[in-house]
């Protein structure tokens, strides 16, 4: 292993693990402490703020992380409320049973509201959730047995394990529930699941190539969000005592979204700020109804225009700028090395480590072959790929070349499952791929890069390297939420692998940089790094050198190929730089007008007439 990443001097407090949790705990304890001096009404207001903090945080998960806007959260709150009422009428359980019911019902309705996200994008999804919100309200109105219809219904007083609670006692329960809900959301967001949601939001294409099922991720986020709102609904029912279907209006849905956005939808604590601003301050200041709404409506619009990050986003930006850990000088440029130098250096390094490059037999075991059999891809009347067959032997590097429009990228997209097949089949190893299932590819060990970069805006280089290991994290969501040993081990290993890959590609100094601040050539490296960090058995490189200077291209391709040989991966390299391809590949497949015109070792293809003609014109 080469030199460790340079350790930065960080203040003591920054090194305490889980300091955000401690801080949140402190805030909750402070509220506990001052609760004694609150009047009944003030305790009520604080409880309402706590409830809306949970609902706001549910948008942090759903909208902030997974990018799915919902204006149907009033329906979810209603679900929690009516689950509470039904539970208290049918069973003898107190809030302990109601919370379970609220969470389960909330999650189920959340999934139902989220189902349209399988088919439609964010704006249409917002419309669909709006429609569902109105339907749900109508159902609440019509279901008079449970809800009392337009007249509303009384909620029984809160009990917990047989003990009755006063409004102040209810505040304590609400604080505990909020603490647990926030910890749950925080643990989900930090780790594999949160990274997956961020990946799906920022680049669905890349996310699916990394093995994430877009539908499952989105609907899962709706379920989690629904569970959070459902448990908020239990608290809400007991806090307001008296509920009517009128409460669960479209306006309430919008208010909950406004809370999350004013507070800052990327940060869980932003939800608390938003809830204090929208629900707490006006009550405390005794502002009258309409003015209060005008004020927060105006604030909301101003925030949308000038501070899309909300309060929390603004505070974080100020902290980054003026806080103790403010940015250091820009890191030095990446040093470029010609391919030959890299290969030599790598060999020297591995000899020094005492590890040999993978032997040919090991390569055969690890690398996986790709069989393309008579594949056709058509867009409308245009046949982009017209009966292409190619056999790619495990552990080899194969160049896929051809003039613009020859069908190279389309073929790659067919292998990745982004486009359907009009005929033929594609197999990785012994497994025939199912068309249009991009997430299936990663499970078989296929990784790919993107010609036009498909990076995750707003995330750091390190985030990209961790997202790249989604499929090989080795732990599930339960481990993640409870912070069990598999999670700790998995994160540690992925972090080490990420640093190793970053060093290999010259990104080690840039791990904390956000990708949109990087130069194009560096972004290209990040795109490649994300694909190779999980050690794919078959790596598809889509024009890795395009847009780079010849030196940059040489350097990047050289480093990746050395790495692939090392770990014994099969590589398909789509590239326009013919000289580069001829130099580094074992075999070249040339396409023109969607057909194979050459398929042989580089030296033979180079002299083939129709290949030369396709390139130089004829």
């Amino acid at each position: 292993m080469s030199a460790p990443a340079p350790e930065r001097a960080r203040p003591v407090w920054a090194r305490i693990p889980g300091r955000d949790v401690l801080l949140a705990l402190l805030a909750i304890i402070v509220v506990f402490g001052i609760s004694g001096i609150l009047t009944g009404y003030q305790a009520y207001v604080v409880t309402v703020v706590v409830i809306f903090t949970i609902i706001g945080a549910s948008h942090t998960v759903l909208f902030g992380a997974a990018g799915q806007p919902s204006v149907g959260h009033a329906a979810l709150l209603g679900a929690g409320v009516y689950a509470t009422i039904a539970m208290s009428r049918i069973t003898s359980f107190g809030m302990e049973g109601e919370l379970v019911a609220g969470i389960v019902i909330g999650a189920l309705i959340g999934v139902v509201i989220g189902l349209p996200s399988l088919r439609i994008g964010s704006l249409y999804l917002a419309i669909a959730t709006l429609a569902l919100c109105i339907v749900a309200q109508q159902i609440y109105f019509e279901w008079t047995g449970l809800t009392g219809g337009g007249a509303g219904t009384q909620v029984p007083p809160p009990t917990l394990f047989g003990t009755a609670y006063t409004p102040l006692g209810l505040l304590y329960i609400a604080l505990v529930v909020m603490g647990v809900a926030m910890l749950f959301a925080r643990n989900l967001l930090r780790g594999r699941q949160g990274r997956a949601w961020n990946a799906v939001r920022t680049s669905p294409l890349a996310a699916s190539s990394l093995g994430m099922s877009l539908g499952l991720q989105k609907v899962g986020a709706f379920g989690v969000s629904g569970a959070m709102v459902g448990c908020a609904g239990v608290l809400y029912a007991h806090t307001v005592n008296y509920v009517s279907p009128q409460d669960f209006s479209l306006e309430l849905s919008i208010v909950t979204l406004v809370i999350a956005i004013i507070g800052g939808q990327r940060y869980l604590w932003g939800a608390a700020l938003g809830a204090i601003f929208v629900e707490g301050l006006p009550e405390m200041l005794r502002t009258t109804g309409e003015f209060r709404y005008v004020i927060y409506g105006v604030v909301f619009v101003v925030i949308m225009i000038f501070f899309p990050g909300g309060f929390a986003g603004g505070i974080v930006a100020l902290w980054r700028r003026f806080g103790p850990g403010r940015r250091r000088a820009a890191p030095a440029e990446i040093e470029l090395a010609p391919t030959a130098t890299i290969v030599e250096a790598e060999l020297a390094q591995s000899t020094a480590r005492g590890t040999e490059p993978a032997s040919p037999t090991a390569v055969g075991e690890r690398g996986i072959g790709l069989s393309i059999r008579d594949v056709r891809v058509a867009f409308g009347g245009v046949t982009a790929v017209d009966g292409v067959s190619a056999e790619i032997v495990p552990g080899t590097v194969v160049g896929l070349v051809g003039p613009n429009g020859a069908g190279k990228t389309t073929l790659l997209n067919a292998v990745s499952g982004f486009v359907g097949l009009a005929g033929g089949e594609i197999a990785v190893g012994d497994t025939v791929l199912r068309p249009r299932r991009p997430a299936q590819r990663r499970a078989l060990g296929v990784g790919r890069t993107f010609q036009n970069l498909s990076l995750h805006e707003g995330l750091t280089v390190m985030d990209h390297l961790m997202i790249g290991q989604h499929a090989v994290a080795g732990y599930g969501s339960v481990s993640q939420v409870l912070r069990l040993p598999p999670f700790v081990r998995g994160e540690r290993r992925m972090r080490a692998d990420a640093i190793e890959t970053a060093e290999m590609l010259g990104l080690a100094d840039l791990l904390d940089e956000r990708v949109e601040n990087l130069a194009y050539g560096v972004q290209k490296r990040v795109d490649v790094a994300r694909a190779v960090v999980a050690r794919p058995r078959l790596l598809l490189l889509d024009e890795p050198a395009a847009g780079l200077t010849p030196d940059e291209g040489d350097d990047l391709v050289g480093r990746v190929l050395v790495h692939s040989r090392h770990v014994g991966a099969t590589v398909v390299l789509v590239e326009h730089n013919i000289e580069l391809v001829m130099r580094v590949t074992d075999r070249v497949v040339a396409l023109n007008f969607g057909r194979v015109i050459a398929d042989d070792v580089p030296d033979v293809v180079r002299r083939q007439d129709d290949f030369v003609e396709a390139y130089l014109g004829g």
């Binding site: 806007p69 204006v71 349209p116 088919r119 439609i120 994008g121 964010s122 704006l123 249409y124 917002a126 419309i127 669909a128 709006l130 429609a131 569902l132 109105i134 339907v135 109508q138 019509e142 306006e251 919008i254 979204l257 406004v258 956005i261 109804g289 309409e290 003015f291 709404y293 005008v294 927060y296 409506g297 105006v298 909301f300 619009v301 949308m304 225009i305 000038f306 899309p308």
Partner: protein
């Protein structure tokens, strides 16, 4: 049979208003790629101006119309200048969210300015009904239908033959290319909002004439008009008009023949079915970015 025909006639007359408000929604969507959730509150605010100046201040309907038209133009201009332009063309969903905020502001501003009471309107429209071929036709609603159809035709003519209309259509297809070709993007954006605001005003006056004037009185119509726009494909103006009339007729038929719950849920069910089966609506084309 005559009950059936009567339902169709009633539906067509309601559909005219839906079509008008759906045009207001579709026009914004076509050029901005965003749904204006403040459509109803913008129209309602201007309708209040019309009726307040017309009846309560007793200055006559002409003055009311003049004031409310100026109000609608100013409101459209202000929204474009104050919200749409500063937001820029980055994340379009931010514009949608901002219109939700605007809706909250306008609804409550209406309440502050004009009070929260419910006013019955004595609109300057002919009252009574006529019987034609055994069908009962309400004159007020007939006039409203006429105004709506005239409004749609005027809009169609303006968009087809004026420079502005050509610019709008070019801008809708590709804002960047249109700007490079010399289409004045700001002018197009400004007039889109002003025209949309005017359409909202007309629809709001029409709705108030046959119902009541109160804060949020246009919200129900907005949901229906929105459904009509979705049905027509959101970005298609002829689709919005057709969607308006189709929805009007479907609603009237369900009032006549279906249980009440179906009538109430009808718009929403249509939205869900259209979005899930054919998000492009009956007339729209779906661009990849929205899918």
């Amino acid at each position: 049979m005559s009950a059936f025909l009567q339902a169709i006639v009633n539906g067509l007359m309601t559909g005219g208003v839906y079509a008008l408000l759906a045009l207001s929604i579709a026009l914004i969507f076509k050029t901005m790629d965003a749904v204006n959730f403040a459509t109803a509150s913008m129209g309602a605010f201007c309708a209040f101006l019309f009726f307040q100046v017309g009846t309560i201040l007793n200055l006559g309907w002409g003055a009311g119309l003049a004031v409310s038209i100026v109000g609608a133009v100013l409101l459209g201009w202000a929204v474009e200048r104050g919200i749409v332009r500063p937001l820029g063309s980055g994340d379009l969903f931010r514009l949608v969210l901002a219109t939700m905020g605007l809706d909250i502001v306008l609804n409550n501003a209406t309440q502050i300015f004009f009070g929260s009471g419910v006013q019955n309107i004595n609109a300057p429209l002919p009252a009574g009904g006529v019987a034609i071929a055994g069908l009962n036709i309400d004159l007020t609603r007939l006039v409203i239908l006429g105004v709506a159809v005239a409004g749609a035709i005027v809009l169609g003519v303006v968009l087809r033959y004026s420079n502005l209309g050509v610019g709008m259509r070019a801008y809708a297809q590709d804002p960047q290319a249109a700007t490079l070709m010399g289409v004045p993007a700001r002018t197009v954006s400004r007039w889109t909002w002003i025209i949309s605001s005017l359409l909202g005003l007309i629809a709001a006056i029409m709705v108030a004439s046959v119902s009541v004037l109160s804060v949020g009185f246009l919200q129900g119509t907005f949901i229906s008009a929105f459904t009509a726009a979705v049905l027509g494909g959101l970005s298609s103006l002829p689709g919005a008009v057709a969607g308006g009339f189709i929805l009007g007729v479907l609603e009237a038929l369900s009032i006549a023949y279906a249980p009440r719950a179906v009538t109430i849920a009808l718009p929403v069910l249509i939205i869900l079915v259209v979005l899930l089966i054919r998000p492009a609506g009956l007339f729209g084309r779906l661009s990849a970015s929205r899918a």
